[in-house]
């Protein structure tokens, strides 16, 4: 069953259009992440789903119930939508103890004292801070406050849990710890989660599906692996590149031969392609991840000589900056790599992991695949 269906959601603020027609279906039990740079509209969409922001157009259906309709200006109160939201700032009430913070939602629902006590303690136990119940938010660390905010959100057993950049105020170590916690909670609760973040790593680690936002539109919706391996546009690839997962980009060309065959021609490699028919030469951008470049000490077939420019050891892996035929490339090597600057190495690129983009539009050429080179072709 679909937990959330969004159709043509539009939101304007003043004259500025923040969301330009979002269509999205989220299934029951999904861990859906809205990923994008700041100002792309992801938090606005979250707030629109929550009901804190009115939709100027489009419809939202939660568990089969229409909760917002831009055409009829219908807007259901956030409280009646059966969802919870964890705010970026946690928004814990400073004058209430942890227990009171978590109990608030149950108290306004007028549940019995005993029932409230039981549910609050269960929620606090779930986020592993049952011993902090009597403390006040001001006396807690950032990570503990985060747990209180989550406990407060899950105590009402919402069908949908919304999280707005919940980890962005934590330090690096806590962030990794809380990621594991969130994953565990998602498994235990079985609720549908919508998670907003601008952190690519976080999105890849946590989600079952990721929607990438740019300027009020969803540009790609995919599983994390697909998204990582096959970014739909150069913009998405770039965005992932900025998150410490650099991607090598090279200018290349697709050349049509007389036999109706297409070839990729680039400074570092060239091979025949299938799935595309060309009438003239087409400029493209070729991308390949650093981990898909292999370094060899000596020449191997199909390899290209490169000069080592710099070496960045990072413990488990080493990033090697190379200069190949006038283009800069980075390669990632597992473990320590004893290369010195100025040394010549030979690199091979795995065509399977390359992506080709239309240079003008930046859209990935889908369906274009390298033809695995046969022995004959290599010989030729």
């Amino acid at each position: 069953m679909n937990a959330i269906e969004l159709q043509g959601i539009q939101v304007n603020m003043g004259r500025k259009s923040i969301l330009k027609g979002i269509d999205l279906t989220i299934e029951q039990g999904d861990f859906m992440t809205f990923l994008g740079p700041s100002g792309c509209g992801k938090t606005t969409l979250l707030r629109t789903i929550a009901g804190l922001q009115k939709a100027d157009g489009g419809t939202i259906v939660l568990n089969g119930r229409e909760v917002a309709n831009g055409e009829t200006a219908y807007h259901m109160d956030p409280a009646k939508r059966g969802l919870s939201l964890v705010f970026q700032s946690y928004a814990l009430w400073p004058h209430m103890s942890v227990y009171e913070n978590v109990a608030f939602g149950l108290q306004v629902r007028r549940q019995s004292k005993a029932e409230i006590r039981e549910k609050v303690m269960a929620a606090l136990t779930k986020v592993r801070i049952a011993d902090l119940a009597e403390r006040y938010p001001g006396e807690l660390s950032g990570g503990q406050q985060q747990r209180v905010a989550i406990a407060r959100a899950i105590v009402t057993e919402p069908q949908v849990l919304l999280l707005d950049e919940p980890l962005s105020n934590l330090d690096a170590r806590l962030r990794v710890e809380m990621r594991a916690e969130l994953k565990r909670l998602h498994r235990e609760l079985g609720a549908t989660i919508i998670y907003v973040t601008h952190d690519q790593q976080e999105a890849l680690t946590l989600s079952t599906r990721i929607a990438v936002f740019f300027e009020g539109e969803i540009v790609q919706l995919d599983r994390p692996q697909t998204l990582y391996q096959r970014p739909a546009t150069l913009q998405v690839a770039d965005f992932f590149g900025n998150g410490g997962m650099d991607t090598n980009q090279l200018s290349a060309e697709l050349i049509a031969t007389d036999g109706g065959r297409s070839y990729l021609s680039s400074p570092v490699c060239s091979f025949p392609l299938e799935g595309i028919t060309l009438t003239e030469t087409m400029p493209v951008i070729l991308t390949i991840k650093p981990e898909h470049i292999q370094l060899h000490r000596s020449y191997v077939p199909q390899s290209v000589p490169s000069v080592v420019e710099a070496v960045f050891p990072a413990g488990a892996e080493t990033l090697v900056k190379l200069m190949t035929e006038g283009s800069e490339l980075s390669a990632r090597v597992l473990g320590d790599a004893e290369y010195s600057c100025g040394e010549t190495v030979y690199i091979t690129l795995n065509p399977e992991h390359m992506n080709l983009y239309n240079q003008g539009s930046g859209v990935r050429l889908s369906g274009v695949r390298p033809i695995t080179p046969t022995r004959e072709m290599i010989r030729a």
Binding site: E71, A73, A91
Partner: protein, 612 residues
């Protein structure tokens, strides 16, 4: 055919769209409360002013007695002409306005120098006894401004208005000159002592939130102390100084009690005293014209302030953040400065009170012998030879009535004003982006422009008879409560919105998602988190209501007598000792409440009068 069958559906769709839009709009608390708030403000502020404005252009029944040209109910410029351009206008309008403006400008300047100087000493130097000095500085504010006038008169009175001469004359056996006893000089002195506290609080708050690294940076660039003050500190303080100036100016120009005590005996009329006597002389319409002129002057002042401060707003250095502060050492001057300050402050804050207190124990004024000491004025019964047989205060049923009225009015109106201020402040803060929020913000500021005496002149006419569903409030304490709440709105709404602004919207949104209604959110989240500001607003209004004179002097009836009006009545009758007994009791109540609120509630007066 298809269009035919579609039509009803789209019609229904449109109707439900409109319905959804309206209910959706009203379900937003900012809009709903804002609408109710605006209706309240329109009824209590805008409508009265418009009504008065119209009334000044219409012939009245009683005008028939003055001129044959009168045609009741018809349009005329007669009243305006009578006030602004007739043979009586010099004494009715021009002289009083000249006096009032001269007094207001002089008072503002003197208060500025005193208040800013003191604020600087207390916040920026290593002066000792700061806490004590601050308390001494606030005392005059806790008293009605005319208490100082009363003390002044006790000291400097001459035989001009009869009765016992003042202390000075008894000591020197020389007649105190009129200029020192009455008129411009003593009015300015009394008002300045009272009003410098506005500057002290406003500029003090601004100074203490200014990062002293700004001064140090100037000092590193080689600037001397004087230059730092002139080029760095002064420009940064300009907004605070200007708002202090406006506050002082508008209060001084419309003050009634002080000129009534010190000006009227020598026919030194200010616009407020003239307004009052016009009302008493049944020249109601002329009084309304005077009110409107007074409003116009206040508006011009505010407009000028906006013109000047508007450009200054870009300064962001005065933040609320706790910043590093270095106190300026006074060096060898430290001790002498402290002594001078304390002595001066005692002289203006404590000595007047002591003079008045000592007076209450003297059977006959000005006779300093042991057998003249008495508790008659506190506890005594009726003796026909003294004060026409008026009983000692604590035995006097009128006093007990006034005490009960005063406490009741102050308590009720301060609670209402604080809560209304918070609610409207909520609308102004959360609705900053919407027209309704901005309207509430601006309209609630309007009473600031209406001098108290004008507002009460308007309210007399408006609430003398039943009005829509509102019964005739004149003659009940509810009218006095209403006018107090309305008059204090600019301060309480400002305090409320500043306080709500500090509470992130997410705190409320998370409660909203948890299912809390607006009322639950208000009660459980906003109210507790705004407790301090609420208490400050309460304190501000309580003190204001306890000492309020201008605003209610025309509204009280024998049944709604308050402590201030009772005192004022005693002043007019010349019952000096009784006046002072009542004053002492009143001041004791105010100081006690101030002490309790600041000590246990952490209330802070500056938030209400516009401190950052």
């Amino acid at each position: 055919m298809s269009s035919k069958s579609l039509q009803p559906i789209s019609l229904k769709r449109n109707r439900s769209r409109l319905w959804n839009q309206v209910t959706g709009w009203l379900r937003n608390p900012v809009n709903l409360i804002g609408t109710i708030g605006l209706l309240f403000l329109a009824y209590t502020i805008i409508w009265p002013v418009i009504e008065i404005l119209i009334a000044t252009f219409v012939w009245k029944q009683q005008d028939m007695r003055i001129t044959a040209a009168a045609n009741p109910g018809h349009f005329t410029f007669y009243h305006w002409q009578r006030v602004l351009a007739s043979e009586i206008s010099p004494s009715l309008f021009y002289k009083p306005i000249l006096h009032a403006s001269a007094v207001a400008v002089t008072v503002s300047f003197i208060s500025m120098v005193l208040g800013c100087g003191l604020a600087w000493l207390v916040t920026r130097t290593d002066l000792p006894f700061k806490k004590g000095i601050t308390f001494l500085a606030v005392i005059p504010y806790l008293l009605p401004s005319w208490v100082i006038a009363q003390a002044w008169l006790t000291f400097f009175k001459n035989e001009k208005i009869g009765g016992t001469p003042g202390i000075l004359q008894s000591l020197t056996h020389m007649s105190t000159p009129d200029w020192l006893a009455y008129g411009f000089v003593p009015i300015v002195a009394s008002l300045s002592i009272h009003d410098s506290v506005y500057f002290f609080l406003l500029v003090g708050a601004a100074l203490s939130s200014m990062n002293s690294q700004l001064e140090e940076a100037a000092s590193m660039s080689g600037a001397g102390r004087a230059r730092i003050l002139r080029r760095i500190v002064f420009p940064l303080m300009l907004p605070a100084i200007l708002s202090g100036f406006i506050l002082t100016f508008t209060r001084a120009i419309s003050s009634y009690g002080v000129p009534a005590i010190l000006g009227t005996p020598v026919d030194f009329y200010m616009i407020s005293t003239m307004l009052y006597s016009s009302m008493r002389a049944r020249l109601t319409t002329e009084a309304h014209v005077l009110s409107l002129m007074l409003m116009l002057i206040s508006m011009l002042m505010i407009y000028m302030n906006h013109r000047i401060v508007g450009r200054q707003r870009s300064f962001v250095t005065v933040t609320g953040k706790d910043s590093h502060k270095t106190l300026m050492p006074l060096g060898r001057l430290r001790r002498p400065m402290a002594i001078v300050t304390v002595v001066l402050m005692t002289l203006v804050s404590v000595v007047p009170l002591l003079i008045l207190l000592v007076q209450t124990f003297m059977l006959r004024e000005g006779v300093y012998t042991v057998d003249n000491w008495t508790l008659h004025y506190w506890l005594g019964g009726s003796i026909s030879g003294i004060n026409s047989g008026e009983k000692g205060v604590l035995q006097n049923p009128i006093f007990l009535l006034a005490l009960r009225n005063s406490l009741w009015i102050a308590a009720i109106s301060s609670v209402i004003a604080a809560v209304v201020g918070l609610i409207l402040g909520y609308v102004a803060a959360r609705g900053k982006q919407t027209w309704i929020g901005r309207m509430v913000d601006q309209v609630s500021f309007f009473p600031y422009l209406i001098p108290g005496i004008s507002l009460s002149a308007i309210y007399i006419t408006m609430f003398a008879k039943p009005h829509f569903i509102v019964p005739a409030l004149y003659g009940t304490v509810w009218l006095i409560i209403l006018i107090t709440v309305v008059k204090e709105l600019p301060f309480t709404v400002k305090a409320g919105s500043a306080s709500v602004m500090q509470i992130g919207g997410e705190l409320e949104e998370s409660a909203q998602i948890s299912g809390a209604s607006w009322w639950a959110r208000f009660r459980r989240i906003l109210l507790p988190l705004n407790r301090k500001s609420l208490l400050s607003a309460f304190l501000l209004v309580f003190i204001g209501a306890m000492k309020e004179t201008e605003l209610i002097i025309m509204l009280v009836t024998p049944r709604t007598e308050t402590l201030t009006t009772l005192t004022f009545e005693y002043v007019e009758k010349g019952y000096t000792q009784l006046t002072n007994v009542v004053l002492m009791i009143m001041i004791a109540i105010v100081i006690l409440v101030y002490y309790l609120a600041t000590k246990y509630g952490k209330a802070d007066l500056t938030t209400g009068i516009g401190g950052q």
